[in-house]
Each structure stands twice: as C-alpha cells, then as structure tokens.
Symmetry: C2
Subunit: 372 residues, 2 copies
C-alpha cells in the first residue's frame, strides 16, 4: 500500500519527521533540565504519545477528559488536564483517578476551588497562572493565587501540587528574540507564583510551563519542573512562519485529489476543503499568508509552484497560484499533499493517521481519539 | 436527563425547530413543483434525513462517499454524490451501486468523463454546470458540456441522466432581491444546459439546482426537476444574517460551560473553542459580525446581553460583550448554548446530537457519520 492507493482526503504522517521533532524536543528539555510533559491535544494518538514519551518521564498533558480516558485506556497514568475544571466535571475526573490515573486538574477560580474542596473525592490541583496571554489564569502577584491554594489545602482531601502557565501569546511573536523574551516571562510568572505559594506554607512540586515556541527558544527554565509543548510533534505552517521550524520539519499533511480544473481563472479544485483542512487562517497574520494550506508534491512533500489553497467550501479546496498553474502536470485524479496552517485543527477532522517513513509506503495506520 | 446533565461541550438539536424548518422547505418545493433532494452534508444523520424526507420523494444528496455508505446502510437508496468524481473513486461508487444504491455522480471534466466511460461498471452521471459561483462546473453554453455527455453516452455502460448546479454565490447576497436574481440565474443555467443536451439527442431527466438561499427565495423553478438545499434543516447565524431565516429558527446550538471569568477585561471563557464551534468566520462579512457564535441562555436559547465568542483556542472560547458582562448571572459551571455561524462546520466535530423538543429534556440521542 502506497500513498497513491489511499482514498482522499486522508491524513498523512511522516514518521521520519516525527522522530526528529520528538527527539529534538526531548533533547532540548534535557539540556534545560526540565521534564517534558507533551501536550497530546495535537496528536490524540497513543502511537505518537509513545514516541513523544520516549526518553522522558512519562507524564502527558490533555485538553479534554475524553483524551484522558483514551490515554489511560492505553496505560498512560500521569495526566494533567490543562483546561480549567468546572464543578460538573469533578465526578468524571474522580472516576479517572479511581481507575488509576495520577490526574492533575487546574483552576484559576475561587468558586471552582470551593467546589473542589467540597467534592467527595480527592484531587490534585495546579493553580493556573496568567503569564501574559490573558486567556485564563490568575496573576502571579494576585491575592486570588493564595486564596485558591488556601481553599483547597484547607479541605480534607484535595491538595495544591503546584502551578501551571501557558504562554499562548508566544504565537504573537515574530522572531527569536521575542520568543526568548516571552519564554522568560512565562518562566518568571510560574516561578514567582510558586515561590509565593511556598512562602505561604503550601508544599508545591510542580512548576509547569509550555508552548512550542517558548519551549523551543527558552534560554533558561531555572525553577521550572516541566514543559508542555504540543504542536512540536507535527509542526505546521504557522510554526514555520514564526521561525520555530522549517517547512521541511512539517510531519503532517493532508492527501487530496485534484477533482477539477479551471484554467480560465488559473484555479484547480481539490477534494480537501474546510472539513479536511480546517478553516484555520492563522498564517493570515504572518508575512506569507498560506491561505488554508500549501499544495505539495505527493512524493517529495515539496510545495508545487506556489500553489496555495486560497478558498474552502465544506469538501472543496480552491487552489490558485501567482504564476500559471501547471495543469498538464496535475490532471484530474492527481494526488497532492497539503501542508496545514495549524496541525491541531487539521488533524481533528480525521480518524486515522496514514503513517509513512519518509517515502510513499504506508507503514502503519494509527488511530486518534476525538470528541469530549 | 436534561440539558444541564450533559457533559460539555455537546451538540444540541431542537427538534421543534427542525420540524418547522424541514416542513417549510418541503411545502415550498411542492409549491414550486419540484422534488426536494435534501443535502445531508449538514446533518449527516439518518434521523434528520427521515424528517427532511417526510413528504418528499426519498432522494438525498451527499458530499462524501462515507455519507453515501452510511445512508445506504440505513436504507436510503436514491443518492446524488454532489462533488466531482475522480477516477480513483469509481470502484467505490460502483460498490455502492452493487449494494443497491441508485447513485448519481457528477463531473465537469472531459478526462474524468473518459475514465467513467472506460470504467468496468455502469454509472449514472450528471454534468455539473457553473451558474455563476465559479467553483466547479462547465458553462451552460460551453462545448465541454456536449463533449462530456458525448463521451459518456458513447460508452457501453454509463449514461448522462441530467445536469446539476449549485448557486454557492447566493452566499454573497445580502437581501431578498439579490437572492431571487441568483435563484433565477441558477435555474436558467440548468435549464439552458439541459435543453442543449436534449437538442443534441441526449435523454436527460434530472435538472438539479440548489442552495438554501435560492431554494428559499426562488420565484419560479420552471424547468427544474429537483432542488438540493442543505443547511435549511438547522439554519445558522450566517443564514439569519443574510435574511434567509430569523435567529429563532436556528435548531442547532453547542452546549458549553463557563470555565473562567476575567472581569478586568470584561471577558468570560467557555469550554467550547475552535474544535467544538469550528473556526468558521462567515458572519465577519455581514452587517453584524457574530465572532465564532452568540452566547444564549440554556433554556430559552435567546442571546444573552450581546455576549459573543470573540476568540477561540482549541478548547477555549473567549466571550466578550459591548456592555459589562453579568458575571453574577454566569458563575463558573453555568451552562450556556452557543448559536453557530455555520451549522455544517460546527456539527462536524461532534459524534451525536442531543435532541430536545423545545424544552430542556433530552428526548433522544442521534448519531452522525463523519470522515471520508
């Protein structure tokens, strides 16, 4: 079975690039002296998880309880659920712990902290810190930080075990210097917060930071215990666009077929549209707008003549280029591979990874979990 | 079981609105004297299909072969696969026919037509006509139209059975008059094309048009045999924004929980982000930009104080409003419902519909198919 035998659209994962990406991050975290707790919201695959965990301590990050269930079912126990917990999800979280998960929850809210404290089961909790993204999290110098820790540690069963922060604003950086600076803000926010908790008498061991740009460019992670990058396993055009990787590091592509030609408007149509590629337009904010993805050769995975997916409908991708499209090279039925803007969003619509190993042979099929 | 018992995020479908939307379109197509062949790419659910088919002739439209397989498995035989066929998918199409499907394929390409003609199995084919959207399709006055029909009808096994067009450019309309005009362009393109085919000696019975805006506003469908609207079953903020429906017709919402407050920036965070809502931003082009969706009361499904999902991350929705958010009414853990911009895209990330019947009781759980 080779790429050309697959029905399209289909997700293609190049294991050769995946190995390099995961090994590089593992090595980097070792060099910085912190644990790597990969965020598996990108891959949602136990096979990818095993590669990302190779040489690391075994902890993972998830973005949904469905991911937590899936990874626990596959024997991964040390799990941080990195989205603020709500009281109605505490029973489900407790059920995971009951089944053997070493589960860490996060909160930034005094009411949620009260609900955790009053819940019938015990929970390990990280206080979420805002290091500048301004999405969720309390400020490292806030009263709320200590109040939340007090509420939980005064409870009979549950415990604060540390802090967690995510420098999502690293996605606003456009060069290495900016990413280094945000990485230090991220580190400093987490370290400041945990020092305050310790000074107030709270026993904290987890100091968790992480995003792919900051993990890639941090000069020091002194005082940090672990990092949680996610998209680094696959990389994508957005990461390449901000300088985190090069395009040749991108391990994930969508195999698609040319289904129509419109030479009169220099356009061809693929059977990969808004569902197969996602409607993510994150590269729009960058120097080179890649539309909904770049069209690449099926064998080399090299971009073809500036072909970009400029528009999408549900199952149609409209491809154009600044120069005349070589239609004769791309007859109807030709397979191409589309590099995605945002690997997390693109992978989400697909059930399986068709795994290649640098070539065109399908060497494995890996499943993914989805839903909530 | 009531809405408040569901884990979030979750898809909620109000059957009461679904009944009204499907019955209204059925009645309208009867009034215009054409068959209704609902496009099931929106719902991907046999339960929704049954309601949409009630009182109609039983034919459906699909956007993937996976949908065709799913609906055939549920006893629906008359299926039009309304995305240009590529040669590599002909075997899968033939397998469906072999299993009893009355399957119609579409093409706009002479090479694909040759592949169909040379394929070992018989196929029923519609020529796709471009009525002004300029996505796929041949012009109604083109030589390609006759060439494609000739190629297929000269084959031993396969037959041209008609034409199909889709006025996707109706989504560019902003009022009733514009939609009426596009509907007439759509009708005229299909009728012109089929008359040319008939004059050339091709026996054609199918004259297929359709989009929700044009089906809703067409003044006449004279000469047309069937229409293929899709999103009308659920409606959404985009359709409401261009005047096809009112917001109170929208049957599909995403149930979400408030997971964090940020009063200092007048923002609250939901556990429904880019995956649960999709990254569709179609209302950006309209008078009222609804961000990634409008936040509604869980019981009434009425928008709350102008709350809009202004930003999304994978599992976070950032909600803001022009006036101060009533945080005291919306403590962490509160459930809300988000009206989507584009129902087709939003439904796609979910496996099941949690069906209500105007109230808050879950009266059924309906599955969906997905993938390709």
């Amino acid at each position: 079975m080779v790429l050309d035998d697959l029905e399209t659209p289909a997700l293609v994962l190049d294991k050769q690039r995946l190995v390099v990406n995961t090994a590089a991050m593992t090595q980097r975290m070792k060099y910085l002296g912190v644990g790597l707790r990969p965020h598996l919201k990108t891959a949602k695959s136990v096979d990818v998880a095993r590669m990302a965990l190779d040489g690391n301590f075994g902890g993972v990050t998830v973005s949904t309880l469905a991911e937590a269930v899936y990874f626990l079912d596959h024997g991964i126990r040390d799990i941080t659920y990195a989205v603020c917990i709500v009281p109605t999800k505490l029973d489900a979280a407790a059920a995971l712990s009951e089944r053997g998960a070493d589960l860490k929850l996060i909160t930034d809210n005094p009411e949620a902290a009260r609900a955790i404290a009053e819940h019938a089961e015990s929970h390990q909790v990280l206080v979420e810190i805002d290091c500048g993204e301004h999405r969720t999290g309390v400020a490292p110098d806030s009263n709320a930080l200590l109040a939340i820790a007090d509420t939980i540690n005064r409870s009979e069963r549950s415990r604060i075990v540390g802090v967690l922060t995510h420098a999502g604003h690293s996605y606003l950086c456009r060069n290495r210097e900016e990413m280094e600076a945000v990485a230090d803000d991220e580190r400093l926010a987490a370290v400041t917060a945990v020092e305050r908790l310790k000074s107030a008498g709270h026993d904290c061991s987890v100091v968790s930071v992480g995003s792919t740009p900051t993990a890639t460019f941090a000069k020091s992670l002194a005082g940090v215990s672990e990092a949680r990058p996610g998209v680094y396993v696959f990389m994508d055009l957005f990461q390449a666009g901000i300088g985190v990787c090069s395009r040749s590091d991108i391990a994930l592509t969508v195999l698609a077929s040319v289904i129509a030609h419109r030479p009169e408007v220099n356009e061809l149509i693929l059977d990969a549209g808004g569902l197969a590629l996602s409607k993510d337009r994150s590269t729009q904010a960058l120097g080179e707008d890649c539309g909904y993805g770049l069209v690449c050769d099926v064998i080399t995975a090299e971009p073809i003549s500036g072909l970009v997916v400029a528009g999408v409908h549900q199952e149609h991708g409209q491809v154009t280029a600044p120069s005349p499209i070589p239609f004769e090279r791309l007859p109807v039925g030709t397979k191409v591979r589309v590099m995605p803007n945002h690997a997390c969003m693109t992978a989400a619509a697909h059930d399986t990874y068709n795994v290649i190993d640098g070539g065109i042979d399908i060497v494995a099929t890996w499943d993914r979990c989805h839903g909530w």
